[in-house]
């Protein structure tokens, strides 16, 4: 799922905002629960066969074998590494891990499922998913927010249907089974979320935890998807499917809340149903009502044996557990004296936190690095809708830029411009400074002609300055403008002062 990025430029948010709300609903009255599907992308092979997981951008139906195609006679075999990673996720999210876990079949017909059933886990009828309960906390509006998890289950991803244009207008569907059998974790939360923004923040936290665990790279297309359950207190629950980016989560939820509030205002009862989010139109359409819900006929997968998880195995995995975002945030606060909020933002993504720490190794001014990341770097990245690991800016380049500021080679102001060019053009800072003349002009011989020009152009200001020394600052401002901020202001001021002094002497002498 794509990370927190810029506000959408598409029309959907505008159209939603354009319709005024007739009735106010307090945030406490909004109940949102999420079902998050995450691919454990760091696995080399699929959940039940040896096929490669590296299917993105490849020819359709080339990463398949008799097993993930569900050919007659084939049997699944559980990927041990997948099980390990799933347990690690459960441990990181504070779930209880059962002594015995088993797989179930979820039966329904759909062309993207080679067997017309999905091997998944089940929490009813004696089923025992890999993780039960659990909690995720995150900072939201400077407060600590806790979301309770219901369960985590391990399952196989179906294949993918491709339509010609939209799902409705397409004349046919094409099916690609490369994705079929990829390991998915389904994380189900209690309806503890109170706003679309909270939901987005929560997802970001989950993502950062998964990346710190080293189980998934959630920036990969389609690797993190989610369904959302939303209701207004006292109203019916609506499930929204097909949400595939952080941005879309927020939009889909906003859209649905407005729809439900509107219905409530009009005295219409919200129907319990499943709706499909269409990213292109920014709307949800009804898929099925409760009466039409599938009967999945869950039953234990007879081709797989129950899996025993021993306390020793859990201890072993616990011992291997890497530093997680919360610990890392707390360490940043202690070790680098970064404010809590800043530390939270820095650890909201593993690549960003890594970037920060790599910078510190090269330049031991953590607070300065943090400030520049938070106030400038992230802003430019967001404008381009990319993440730090997608940009060409390296810790070496970033810290070089900071060092040039310290050395007085460039001003803070030109540094912002240099940083922008580093991101946009992918060039190292020294090259930009050299080529574009961002280098601070502190040579008096270069500044003197400029000072002469400024004085000539600004007769009135010059006269003011002759009378009142404070007015000289205006001329200095003009000099900075003229040099695009590259003039060394201290030298510049000295030169201007000298010139004004000479002029005053000249005036007095005449």
């Amino acid at each position: 799922m794509a990370m927190d990025k810029t506000k959408s430029k598409s029309s959907k948010s505008k159209s939603a905002k354009a319709r005024p709300l007739k009735i106010k609903v307090k945030e406490e009255d909004i109940l949102i629960g999420l079902e998050i599907h995450v691919q454990l992308t760091n696995l080399k092979t699929k959940l039940f066969c040896g096929c490669s997981t590296d299917y993105r951008g490849k020819e359709p139906n080339n990463f398949v074998c008799p097993i993930c195609l569900g050919l007659p006679g084939t049997l699944p075999v559980v990927n041990k590494k997948a099980l390990e990673l799933a347990i690690e996720v459960c441990l990181a999210l504070g779930c209880q891990i059962p002594e015995r876990t088993l797989f179930y079949r979820k039966n329904y017909y759909y062309p993207d499922m080679p067997k017309n059933f999905q091997i998944t886990q089940y929490h009813k009828a004696g089923g025992s998913p890999i993780g039960l309960g659990g909690q995720v906390s995150f900072d939201f509006n400077m407060e600590k927010k806790v979301v309770n998890l219901i369960r985590i289950q391990l399952e196989e991803d179906p294949g993918r249907l491709t339509y010609l244009g939209s799902i409705i207008s397409s004349e046919y569907s094409l099916v690609d089974y490369n994705r079929a059998g990829i390991t998915l974790l389904e994380i189900v939360t209690e309806p503890d979320l109170r706003s679309p923004e909270e939901a987005r923040e929560f997802l970001q936290k989950i993502r950062s935890i998964l990346e710190h665990l080293g189980v998934a790279d959630c920036s990969l297309e389609g690797s993190m998807r989610c369904d959302a359950n939303i209701s207004l207190k006292g109203g019916n629950r609506v499930e929204i499917k097909n949400i595939s980016s952080f941005k879309a989560v927020q939009h889909a939820l906003q859209h649905e809340i407005i729809r439900q509030r509107r219905q409530r205002a009009d005295g219409v009862l919200t129907v319990m149903e499943t709706r499909h989010w269409d990213d292109n139109t920014g709307r949800t359409i009804s898929l099925r009502t409760k009466e039409e819900e599938h009967d999945y006929r869950y039953f234990p997968e007879p081709d797989l044996v129950p899996i025993e998880i021993t306390p020793e195995q859990i201890e072993e995995l616990k011992a291997k557990m890497p530093e997680l975002p919360d610990e890392r945030r707390d360490r940043f606060i202690l070790e680098y004296q970064v404010p809590r909020y800043d530390a939270g933002v820095l650890t909201s993504s593993k690549s960003l936190a890594d970037f920060f720490e790599n910078c510190i190794k090269l330049y031991s001014e953590p607070k300065n690095i943090s400030n520049w990341i938070l106030s400038e770097l992230l802003r430019y990245l967001n404008e381009l809708n990319i993440e730090i690991n997608e940009s060409t800016v390296t810790p070496e380049q970033f810290t070089t830029m900071l060092k040039r500021i310290d050395a007085g080679t460039i001003s803070r102001r030109s540094a912002k411009k240099v940083l922008m060019d580093m991101i946009n053009l992918g060039k190292p800072p020294d090259q930009i400074i050299e080529e574009d003349g961002h280098k601070r002009i502190s040579d008096p011989k270069k500044l003197e002609p400029i000072a002469d020009k400024i004085i000539e152009k600004n007769q009135k200001a010059t006269n003011d300055a002759i009378k009142d020394e404070k007015a000289i600052n205006f001329l200095l401002g003009e000099m900075m403008k003229e040099t695009h901020g590259t003039a060394d202001p201290i030298i510049g001021l000295q030169i201007l002062s000298k010139k004004i002094y000479q002029l005053r002497r000249k005036e007095e002498s005449t």
Binding site: G70, L71, V77, F299, P302
Partner: protein
């Protein structure tokens, strides 16, 4: 001097490796026999004559030039058509898979080929192994070699008939509710369903995965043991296979049976069992007594729940296992290529015959919300109880003995329109599938010129004692050597 095709694999094996006969010679002898009798019997759906001859010639070269010899060098073997064979179509007796050619071999096929066995063809069976008579096959009915008007039993009827009619030296079947033992009984062959998890199911097209095992159908128990030595063993491709030390089942044939305790559940010989069948079973028990076995009659009332328990579990699993046949990736596809996909795949699925449809419908029903607890869950509970009751019995007894089938073979067409009476004929065989315990069937008599099968069943992993008792019985009797007159 018997003709080559009449010999057992065990007998042929030594003659082949000694160079007394060639694999090609044996193959021709067998193919000529098939040529003569197959028209009447119809054991096979697909025959691999040319390929089999080629293979035999290759094996002969290998036998001459190499010291390394497999345990089945040059032995022709018939394979039930629900076991996947690479590049040989595998139909499951269904129109659905009429043109389906698997891109891989089942694990058992790999093992057989590695030992030098030669696949001569794929045998007829009830569609997707659903049936007890081989009458539900899309490819026609297989006829009982003892009387062509009678059924061969099922669902591995083609393999059973091929053994009895000397159309194969060895055969593989699969047993979900008696599908090896029933045709063994009806055809006068020997067949075993082993403890669940001993033989890999990888490549066996699933009907009801928690119940079924692949197994041998052979001319005698020694060939069974020979084949088990190759088939049994852990397979990383089948999570339900057991990891156990390797055993030599040929050696265990000669285990002393004196002093073994036999239980005879009265339910196996109760209402619905032919008198002639009962008599043959008792004769067998008395015979075993003379070799030092002791027996007691017992009662296991839960047996009466076995058939409904079996059918609910089997149909439920089948409804899910057979869901994949939608005509999209392989299998029967209607001409139409437009329309809602639901409509198209529903029409594709009309390629299933009536019995398969019935079981999918009933299984879907049994798993549905609101009925799950009443049917599927209850069946699982009965399964647990049955398993426990049998485990308890095996604290007092080494084996249980009874008929494999309650009757001699019935006439073709007699039960096919009466599914309930057909299902009830599985009463004695389904227990071993429900419990996961081993059971075998050996010939023990005839009535009206049709064979009767004796079923020996035991506790988990008691194959060795079952084989030893069966071997002793076959050493002292010649029922298994009797052959139908076909030419």
């Amino acid at each position: 001097m018997p003709t080559l095709y009449e010999l057992t694999a065990y007998e042929l094996r030594s003659r082949l490796s000694a160079g007394d006969i060639s694999a090609e010679e044996l193959m021709f002898s067998l193919l000529e026999r098939i040529e003569r009798v197959e028209g009447d019997i119809k054991s096979y759906i697909t025959l691999q004559k040319d390929e089999a001859i080629n293979e035999a010639q290759k094996i002969d070269k290998h036998l001459k030039n190499s010291k390394k010899k497999g345990h089945l060098m040059g032995i022709p073997i018939a394979i039930k058509d629900n076991i996947c064979t690479q590049n040989i179509r595998t139909t499951c007796g269904s129109k659905m898979l009429e043109n389906y050619i698997p891109p891989f071999n089942a694990t058992v096929i790999e093992r057989i080929l590695k030992e030098g066995g030669i696949i001569i063809g794929k045998t007829n069976m009830d569609e997707f192994a659903m049936g007890s008579s081989t009458e539900t096959s899309f490819y026609g009915i297989t006829h009982n070699p003892w009387n062509l008007d009678y059924v061969v039993g099922g669902s591995s009827g083609g393999s059973g008939a091929a053994i009895t009619a000397d159309e194969a030296i060895l055969a593989l079947g699969s047993d979900t509710g008696g599908s090896i033992r029933c045709p063994a009984s009806f055809c006068n062959a020997t067949g075993i369903k082993v403890t669940y998890g001993l033989i890999s199911r990888y490549g066996l097209v699933s009907y009801a995965c928690s119940l079924e095992q692949i197994g041998p159908l052979t001319k005698d128990i020694r060939d069974c043991a020979l084949l088990l030595n190759i088939l049994i063993g852990y397979d990383p491709y089948d999570s339900t296979t057991l990891q156990l030390p390797k055993k030599d089942y040929l050696k265990s044939l000669s285990t002393e049976i004196r002093g073994i305790k036999i239980g005879v559940p009265q339910e196996f010989l109760g209402e619905g069992t032919d008198e002639a069948v009962s008599k043959a079973i008792w004769d067998a028990i008395y015979l075993l007594e003379t070799y030092g076995a002791t027996y007691s009659e017992i009662s296991l009332p839960l047996i009466n729940y076995a058939v409904p328990c079996y059918y609910i579990i089997a149909m439920s699993e089948a409804s899910s296992n057979l869901a994949r046949y939608d005509g999209i990736r392989y299998g029967h596809r209607i001409e139409k290529d437009e329309g809602e996909w639901n409509e198209v795949f529903s029409e594709d699925r009309l390629a299933f015959g009536p019995e398969v449809r019935r079981r999918i419908m009933l299984g879907t029903y049994a798993l549905s919300a609101g009925y799950y607890d009443m049917y599927y869950l209850k069946a699982l509970k009965i399964r647990t109880l049955l398993r426990k009751q049998f485990e308890d019995q095996f604290k007092s007894f080494d084996i249980l003995v009874g008929p494999t089938m309650p009757t001699i073979p019935f006439k073709i067409g007699e039960k096919i329109f009466d599914p309930l009476s057909m299902y009830m004929s599985d009463i004695d065989t389904v227990i071993a599938n429900i419990t996961g315990m081993p059971a075998l069937s050996i010939p023990c008599g005839f009535s009206n010129g049709l064979p009767i099968g004796l079923q020996l069943s035991g506790n988990f992993l008691s194959e060795e004692i079952l084989l030893a008792v069966a071997h002793k019985f076959q050493q002292e009797t010649d029922f298994h050597k009797k052959k139908p007159l076909l030419e």
